[in-house]
């Protein structure tokens, strides 16, 4: 083995890497929030509606679930570019991840909605609630509880998927790493440190989600 490891340049730029890790978290969290909103809407449309709107929701869900996330990112990046619509790398990654998250979460939510008996809707309607109240006060809180675990997984996925940003020029953790790696030629060292940072990020997310779960689901 005649390779000398040089870790010094990596540690010198560690603050930059950590800063870009914050960017990774930002885009992942934002895409999760948007993904949950879109996912809820998609699953409700898929369950309750017919016609073109349902067709739209089903194709969104199936496309998001059956094509690679990278292809979806390319579509928002290069595909829309062909129409002269150009987004910043941040927006490309955010839209790609949101599209993907919404598709996967919609299926989770559908499973959650199906797990709640119809009689509950009838009961709350007969108590005088309108259907908006029924959903926001009775159904969705229970669904969120059922899909809490899948949602945590999806959050981890969002962080991991955001690494694809380096292929569309987004300078999040991976992009920043690639930038420094190609500047210093210490490719292995940089990516090894980045792998550790990702691992820690994922562990932190799982830890926080467990704390929240303990608080929310005491009963």
């Amino acid at each position: 083995m005649d390779y000398n490891f040089h870790w010094r340049p990596v540690f010198k730029t560690l603050p930059d890497l950590l800063q870009s890790a914050v960017l990774t978290l930002e885009v992942a969290i934002l895409s999760m929030i948007l993904g949950i909103l879109f996912g809820l809407a998609l699953s409700l449309i898929r369950i309750n509606m017919t016609g073109p709107l349902k067709w739209f929701a089903v194709s969104w869900i199936e496309l998001a679930r059956n094509t690679p996330a990278l292809l979806q990112l390319f579509f928002f990046g290069f595909g829309l570019g062909a129409f002269g619509i150009h987004f910043s790398p941040f927006l490309i990654v955010l839209m790609g991840l949101t599209f993907n998250n919404a598709g996967y979460l919609a299926e989770n939510f559908r499973g959650g909605f199906n797990a709640i008996p119809d009689t509950q809707i009838k009961a709350s309607l007969s108590l005088g609630m309108n259907s908006f109240q029924t959903y926001t006060r009775i159904i969705i809180p229970q669904v969120l509880r059922i899909v809490y675990h899948p949602m945590t997984n999806q959050m981890v996925w969002a962080v991991l998927m955001s690494s694809l940003g380096m292929l569309v020029g987004f300078r999040e953790l991976s992009g920043e790493t690639q930038f420094f790696a190609s500047k210093t030629y210490r490719i292995f060292e940089y990516f090894a440190v980045t792998a550790v940072i990702y691992y820690v990020l994922v562990k932190i997310i799982l830890g926080i989600s467990r704390l929240i779960a303990n608080r929310l689901f005491k009963y």
Binding site: M1, E62, N66, L71, F74, L164, A195, Y198, Y199
Partner: protein, 219 residues
């Protein structure tokens, strides 16, 4: 004489053939990664279910492969192999990483499957005179498989889609091929749509069939 005009030319039927061939390469690398990774993963899952100590140590190692983005793993391994004197082409490097990645996920699925078969059931098998392997083969396998087949299909489809990331090592599979075509034809939407259709055609029938199977089994 080849004219310079061939650098930029529209999408031709030949390119469809080129993409089709690349789709076969996607299928090829995923097929091997899923097959080898699943066999490996089943044995790892068995190891995880045997002892606490093994579950902790092995589990922590496997956890790393699920907490670090695949793209980072690919770059890391591709740059690490030459350091220890391994000369790998992109296909081999990609296949190794994808296989280990698959086995890390399958190990967890397999463990869930083994744990789905209750201890009393296994004791009953042993007390009927079956030896350890007979118990695994004729009792745990058929029952556990039913419990986790949908999860395994999910993992396999995930690997099929994640194989798109091998493109960054330079292996010309579906996504890399579409990148090449995008550069040449400048028709991003068209090329990406066709590539997406290929992925969809590979993935959707399997996921549809798996959902049907799951429904039939749960009745």
């Amino acid at each position: 004489m080849e004219s310079a005009a061939t650098y930029f030319s529209g999408f031709s039927p030949n390119d469809l053939w080129f993409l089709g061939e690349a789709a076969l390469r996607t299928l090829w690398i995923s097929f091997w990664a899923i097959s080898i990774g699943s066999i490996l993963g089943i044995f790892l899952g068995l190891a995880l279910s045997i002892s606490r100590l093994l579950a902790f140590t092995l589990g922590t190692i496997l956890d790393i492969f699920r907490s670090v983005p695949l793209i980072i793993q690919l770059v890391l391994f591709f740059n690490f192999a030459p350091i220890i004197g391994l000369r790998l082409n992109p296909f081999e490097a990609g296949l190794i990483v994808l296989t280990v990645y698959t086995s890390a996920y399958v190990a967890n699925v397999a463990r869930a499957g083994i744990e789905a078969v209750g201890i009393p059931m296994r004791r009953a098998a042993r007390s009927l005179g079956m030896n350890y392997w007979q118990d695994l083969r004729y009792v745990v396998w058929p029952i556990g498989l039913r419990a986790v087949l949908p999860a395994w299909v999910g993992v396999a489809l995930g690997v099929l889609k994640d194989s798109a990331l091998v493109s960054i090592l330079g292996y010309v599979e579906l996504l890399k091929a579409s990148q090449i075509l995008m550069t040449r034809t400048q028709e991003a939407i068209l090329v990406l749509s066709i590539a997406g259709a290929f992925y969809f055609a590979l993935s959707y029938p399997i996921s549809y069939y798996a959902t049907r199977l799951e429904q039939r089994w749960s009745e």
